[in-house]
Symmetry: C2
Subunit: 238 residues, 2 copies
């Protein structure tokens, strides 16, 4: 299997063999997390970054009143805590949704690589900007889109991102996100998420088969979610 980070970077711009093997070497240490564990905690000052190789994770914040906000979902190819490398401190948590395999990249190694290979540094910067762009799209969803549209939009996004790393099979893909987690991501209550999902199914847009989500009518779902993938800056499909 192609390295998911390299795969992602090469969508943006080509990498030399030397650069690729530098990245691969950096990812030699691997760790595994069970579901619902924290990979990094808010306030921590880690000395490694975590690259997701397999599984679903998320960024989240906890509020005083026991509420939680999930800010993004992280999948294969995402370095989920670049923040710790550049800013030092984490200002949010990273937690797993499912079992996750993660490569640990020491900050020291990352520093060496980015100093030696400006193109890689640039690729990481690009990645940060894309993530910021995804945040603003979520902001738009939470601020101005009603629940039905918001959920449809999220499903579209996850589908497109999973597709970009080869995890979609004919409109169907693993969906390990609970309704409570969807609620925490979209600022909705679990109950309401449940009702809206029923609507989406009733409207013939999606079906769940166990933990697998099947999209029946992609165009209709896109429309329902007011979804335009440009903000993901995925470049040309492979």
């Amino acid at each position: 299997m192609l390295h998911p980070l390299i795969r992602k970077m090469e969508r943006m711009s080509a990498l030399s063999d030397e650069e690729k093997s530098a990245i691969e070497d950096a990812c030699s240490r691997v760790r595994t997390f069970g579901p619902d564990e924290d990979i990094v905690h808010h306030g921590e000052r880690p000395s490694d970054c975590n690259l997701i190789l397999d599984g679903f994770a998320c960024r989240y914040k906890l509020l005083h009143e026991g509420k939680r906000q999930i800010m993004s979902f992280q999948i294969a190819g995402d370095i989920c805590d670049l923040q710790s490398f550049v800013l030092g401190v984490m200002d949010h948590h990273i937690g797993t949704l499912t079992r996750c395999t993660v490569a640990l990249i020491p900050h020291r190694t990352l520093l060496e690589i980015t100093e030696r290979y400006p193109r890689v540094a640039r690729a990481l910067w690009t990645d940060t900007l894309i993530e910021a762009s995804v945040f603003s799209e979520w902001l738009t969803s939470l601020g101005r889109r009603p629940a039905y549209q918001r959920i449809a939009h999220l499903i579209c996004e996850v589908m497109v991102r999973l597709d970009a790393v080869g995890l979609v099979d004919n409109g169907s893909f693993a969906w390990p996100v609970t309704q409570a987690e969807i609620g925490d991501a979209l600022g909705l209550s679990t109950v309401h998420v449940n009702r809206v999902l029923q609507q989406l199914r009733g409207d013939g847009l999606i079906t769940f088969r166990g933990n697998t989500l099947l999209i029946h009518d992609w165009d209709a779902l896109k429309k329902a979610g007011d979804f335009n993938p440009d903000y993901l800056h995925l470049g040309r499909p492979e």
Copy 2:
């Protein structure tokens, strides 16, 4: 007056005189915009970046139904469209709120500077990460904080950011943001913003004197807004 971008960067890490003058030289071309004009449009592929020198601007997206979401406010020292330099296309608009003075930095110059001075490149990357961090805080506000808290939080943020560039005088600062704009930023209706602002005034936290906002009780406002400035990563106050 010290250059606002240099001032900001030096909060994070020191710059050499050479680096500083390279940045200053890059900002020689200046443009002025009136209030409510677009600095950059969604979909555009500019060949310069815009550094705000003076005034208030904002990032925003327009939805089909005529709704709008403001994703951030931009003040002196912010390069509001770094996205165009790194990703090429803008996926949102940048518009002014007030009259703005803006320095135009050609992408070519930016490329030269970032290649020649890795420390500057790194500072810009840092800036991008901070902005992403601000986005996630907003996300948390829109997703999980009620209107009163949300507005208080926004006021705290603007105050702290303005203070960091020396634009706060004894708890009081220019506030050119209309209630409709606050609504567009926080996902609220103008009417509701108005009512909540009345509450905040009634609770003795803030006062408006024309376009000047005066904070009476900073600690109470922070508390009301559940505000913790860590996510702004401002480093140590000057």
